[in-house]
């Protein structure tokens, strides 16, 4: 799952995959603006077949937060 998320993030943010480290967040990736964020969520939802709540969407602004949101979805389904 981590690799898949990295791959998606690298495509959406137009940065190399190895630039997306464990501590990556909207603060460390310049291209992670609000529009890119919407695209990221759209891609994650489609690729993982899930839907996030509005509160989750606003919190998912780091690699770590994305992973834990996805893990929650996987656990609950």
């Amino acid at each position: 799952m981590e690799q898949k998320v990295k791959k998606i993030m690298s495509q959406i943010f137009r940065v190399a995959e190895d630039h997306i480290r464990e501590d990556a967040s909207s603060l460390t990736i310049d291209s992670w603006d609000s529009l890119a964020h919407m695209n990221l969520i759209a891609a994650l939802e489609e690729e993982f077949g899930v839907q996030f709540q509005d509160q989750e969407i606003i919190q998912m602004t780091s690699f770590e937060a994305i992973l834990s949101s996805l893990a929650l979805k996987a656990g609950s389904s």
Partner: protein, 597 residues
Amino acid sequence: MSRISFLEMDARLQAADMRGYPVCPITLLRNVTLENIQIFLRYFAYEAGWNAQVSFGDYDSVLQEAVSDSKKLFPDSKFILVYLFLENLSWNIARNFNGLSMEALQVEKEHVKNYLRLALEGIRTHTQAPVLWHSFESPVYPADGIGGPQRSGGQLETVSELNDYLKQILKMQPNTYGIDLNSCLARVGYDAYYDRRYWHLARAPYSQRALKEIALEDFKFIRALSGNVKKCLVLDCDDVLWGGAAGEAGLEGIQLGKSYPGSPYYEFQQEILNLYHRGVILALCSKNNEQDVWEVFDRHPEMILQRRHFAAWRINWKNKADNLRQIAQELNISTEHLVFADDSEFEINLVKEWMPEVLTLHLSRSHAVEFREKLLRLDCFGQISFTAEDQSRSQMIQQETERRKFQTNHQDLQSYLRSLELVATLRLADGVTIPRISQLTQKTNQFNLTTRRYSESDIRSFAESPNHRVFSLSLRDRFGDAGLVGVFIAERAGSSNCRIDTFLMSCRVLGREAEVIFAERCLTALASEWGVKEWAAEYIPTPKNALAERFWDQFGFKRKEAKAAQSAVHYSLEESQRILISNSIIHVEEEFCGTKS
């Protein structure tokens, strides 16, 4: 194509090499967050062979931008897309409906109507480009509940009144089109259409699926306005027009009729007939004994489609790619105008492989109940305004086929042409002919010297200008009436110079010398009316118009060397040097005695 994921779409766009694609600048004005539609617009444009460049107006600034003096938004936009979401235009009508008094509702409606009108007028002061204006969605759960629709002035009725008003003002402005978002909403479904999360987080009301559907709808218009549409539906017979094989099951054995299991085929045929009445050309391409197929057409009581609806057919055992090429040639259209429907995956893949320009429709045998739906969803024969020529086009194509058979009985071309008893009518553009003239400029690719695409409003302004003349040519012969098929647009420059802006001829009437005689008559008329001494003409090469390349040479026009291989070729000619062309073939009627001064 429609199942492709967001990431895949994005990846293809990133990897796409769009050098050589014409740039298509699109300006999008909106009162909500809509940036996410960009990827869909760019992707559908890419599929159509364009490099779309989408620029956005500021959030909720449609009117301000429309009436401002700033030109930055509309420099050379080919299309203007307007999206006004009712919530942000009138919170009261959209959300506070029950709190409105009759008077307050009236005021609110006037506010919206004024906004729409002023914005449209404002946009028109900046640009004459086509405007695609999105209607308001109807409330799916009206605020006034089940009682609202029972009385007049309910919320549903109010929203449709606003949509009617929009339709009305769009009708008065040429080259503006209403996009019906209620159709998009219905196709996607209410729950999947709106994304409430992003409405609250970012004032972005639409889901990804909704944005895709809306962009797809926009592109039907953009394609149609650019002349990028399909013209001919080529159909297989067995297991497509009827169930079973005519050659094996026989007349009584095939499935076709008003009740199951024949009803899916019956309804499919009815839908095909609707396309025929819309001007789509029909053809057959079937691996069969010709006799077996015609037996069904001639003798089966439930056949909706008749022989006369088909302009061409190839019923044989040869490969379908070759047959499709021959059909296109016979109909004088390009293979990229074809849609091919077949039940065999093998045939579909063969055509996909060899003729990627042909749109294929795979009708899988076990899903006959879906045939009609699949055809409806293709929605690729889009024409925006219907002209009389569209409705009788298929008929005219059939006449052409008869003409060709007649031709084989004549020894030389001249005697054949004379025997056709051709009559050409020249007219100046007027209210009746302007839509067809504009349509021809948008659709004609092959015999088109400059391929300039003009909207109805462009043609209207030429027709009204004292320095322009728009001539049209209609042609008929002993077999039938081809309708309006030629356009000549000239512009006066200085006291005795004239520039030929557009000269085109529908390819279905080429080869009868009508194009030469038409041009000759227009030149002669202008020479006497405007006193032209010096002519200027152009040939602008495209991938399709090589046919017309040397057209001006026969009148004595002198070619100036083109700057580069693919750029426009300029021609000039002194009127005194013009080569006159004799005509013993076509009887010409000129109906422009009442010319403008």
